[in-house]
């Protein structure tokens, strides 16, 4: 029994995959020269007026319905005021009391059963514009900071979970599942290095002290640059809060919410300078933007546009294809293009398990070694399907599968051509029988051994058979030899 339960809620900001910004038509392309993608609207020049990007609304709607959220009939824009150099207007256009979606959920599970499958509730998902970037000078704090406003106004969807996670592992599973879902439906590339996905974690503890349940003050952790960092930061923070509670006994409500930054190199969270005076955002409705209403037809169309979601595919791979939960998880987690590849191959092969084995073992291994994606893989889905079908029908002896696969991979051959180039053809049963007969005649001692009860002695004959005819199926050779000896 643990000394405490860790309570975790996550706020995830994802950049939506639009070509232009949320309220102006500047490009959102990452990596441009500083301050070359701005205009009077996104740098807040007087007299400029924002106009909503239709595609950003569509992508936000698709994400919201994929997260099982309710879509209110009316949503509006609010100004969140704060003063910071990377925020040229002095306010961020966001959504406060009428978000575009709320009350959804995302299911998480662990194929290794380290926690029970559970639903993480989504409190809300709302649209907002991104801020710019401060480029900190290397000369610590002496020189001026340089501000790049290219990112200002890029569409973000902020997805806020309820505090439903109970371990760093569950938080990691939520992030993995969320990222998988977003990339499946194609609303974001979720590239953390480029800032397309950012995570803040709210963490506190529930401590059971002699029957009394005590909650520690909530801490918001920022500056986590990878999912692994999120896991580490939560684990560290839980331990830190327990220690602080033992020392001070501080409880939830004793102090305002604290923000701490994660220092990845040191492996610790550090208190950040209190911005208490600036935490008063004074939201009010943005008069420059009219409200948005999504019709039932739009919501239905968004649902219909999603295609199969990861959770549905995982289920159908188990129920319809007979795969294990683990195999289904491995395939689905590779992303939609790999699932498309797998499914096309199964259609040709008519053998889901067979294709799964080749994909999860050999195909994924080759992709990993060459650091490539399935898009550029030299064996097409149809070829792989044909290859598996030939093994299933016996046309291609299982023992030669690996050779054929390698030839297909290296020379880009079809299964038939690869078999031809390797001289592989199915050996018919009468041919095999005469081969076995001659081997038995040449090895009377083995025959005696088998008759004396040492069945495994027949193994030596399999090796000899393969030497004489590499296409001989080992299991068939074994059975035929045993049958022949029994009749002797």
């Amino acid at each position: 029994m643990s000394k405490y339960t860790t309570i975790i809620g996550l706020e995830v900001h994802v950049q939506l995959a639009t070509k232009s910004k949320l309220f102006c038509r500047c490009s959102t392309q990452f990596g441009a020269e500083p301050n070359t993608q701005t205009c009077p609207v996104c740098i807040g020049m007087p007299g400029s007026l924002p106009v909503m990007n239709e595609e950003a609304l569509n992508l936000a709607l698709q994400t919201a319905v994929a997260l099982n959220c309710t879509i209110p009939p009316l949503t509006k824009w609010d100004r969140k005021q704060y003063y910071y150099p990377d925020l040229p207007k002095g306010y961020q256009i966001s959504q406060y009391d009428m978000p575009m979606s709320e009350h959804g959920h995302l299911e998480i599970s662990d194929s290794k059963d380290r926690f029970e499958t559970k639903q993480i509730r989504i409190l809300r998902a709302h649209l907002e514009e991104d801020a710019g970037k401060s480029v900190h000078d290397e000369v610590a704090g002496r020189a001026d900071s340089v501000i790049d406003l290219n990112r200002t106004g890029t569409p973000l969807l902020e997805i806020v979970s309820e505090p439903d996670m109970r371990s760093a592992l569950e938080a990691r599973a939520y992030l993995d599942e969320l990222k998988l879902l977003l990339t499946y439906i194609g609303v974001s590339d979720c590239n953390m290095q480029e800032g397309s996905l950012r995570v803040d974690a709210n963490v506190n503890l529930h401590i059971d002290k002699g029957g009394e349940k005590i909650a520690t003050p909530i801490v918001e952790i920022k500056n986590m640059n990878s999912f692994r960092a999120v896991e580490r930061a939560i684990e560290y923070e839980a331990g830190r809060q327990y220690k602080v509670w033992q020392e001070t006994g501080a409880k939830l409500g004793d102090s305002p919410k604290q923000t701490r930054g994660w220092d990845d190199a040191a492996g610790v969270t550090r208190g950040q300078r209190s911005k208490e005076e600036s935490s008063d955002y004074r939201y009010f409705p943005d008069p420059d933007l009219v409200p948005v209403s999504f019709s039932d037809e739009q919501v239905d169309a968004a649902k219909a546009s999603l295609g199969e979601l990861p959770s549905t595919i995982r289920e159908s791979l188990q129920s319809d294809h007979g795969l294990s939960a683990y195999d289904a998880e491995v395939l689905v987690n590779q992303g939609r293009t790999l699932i498309d590849y797998y499914q096309s191959a199964v259609k040709v092969a008519g053998d889901a398990k067979g294709v799964c084995n080749w994909v999860t073992q050999d195909v994924l291994r080759v992709l990993k070694e060459s650091d490539a994606g399935i898009e550029t893989f030299s064996i097409t889905a149809a070829s792989l399907g044909d290859f598996v079908a030939k093994q299933k029908s016996g046309e291609l002896p299982t023992a030669r599968g690996r050779d054929v696969f390698d030839a297909m991979l290296e020379k880009g051959l079809s299964a038939a051509d690869a078999m031809h180039s390797l001289g592989i053809e199915e050996v018919d049963d009468s041919e095999l029988e005469s081969l076995c007969q001659s081997l038995l005649e040449a090895n009377p001692r083995i025959v005696d051994d088998v008759k004396g009860g040492k069945q495994q002695a027949v193994g030596a004959l399999i090796g000899q058979a393969k030497k004489q005819n590499p296409n001989a199926d080992p299991s068939k050779v074994r059975q035929i030899c045993l049958d022949l000896i029994a009749k002797m």
Binding site: D86, D148, L149, K275, R282
Partner: protein
């Protein structure tokens, strides 16, 4: 509603404005006048009237997601008090 000089001081801090004691005094009086003017709206009887999300009865004014040319960098930076041809220069940002 009446404004105190503490309220005005807080708003000034949020807007990063430094007010002298004299300015604080005159500003409090002036802001009180503005707020008092707006306060007249409270006299209107709004029983049974649906709140509106916006003063204009329009919805869904959007544009297609097509990129249009941005400002040349020189023009974007032209009004900045300080810049280095590439970016805006501001006093070093603390914390982060």
């Amino acid at each position: 509603m009446s404004l105190t000089s503490d309220d005005v001081e807080k708003v000034a801090l949020l807007a990063r404005l430094m007010l002298s004691p004299d300015e604080l005094e005159s500003m409090t009086a002036e802001m009180q006048q503005i707020v008092g003017y707006v306060d007249q709206l409270a006299e209107v009887d709004t029983t049974g009237i649906e709140p509106m999300a916006h003063a204009v009865e329009l919805r869904n004014v959007t544009k297609d997601d097509n990129v249009a040319p941005s400002l040349p960098r020189g023009e974007a930076l032209a009004n900045a008090p300080k810049h280095n041809e590439e970016g805006y220069l501001v006093p070093a940002v603390l914390g982060d």
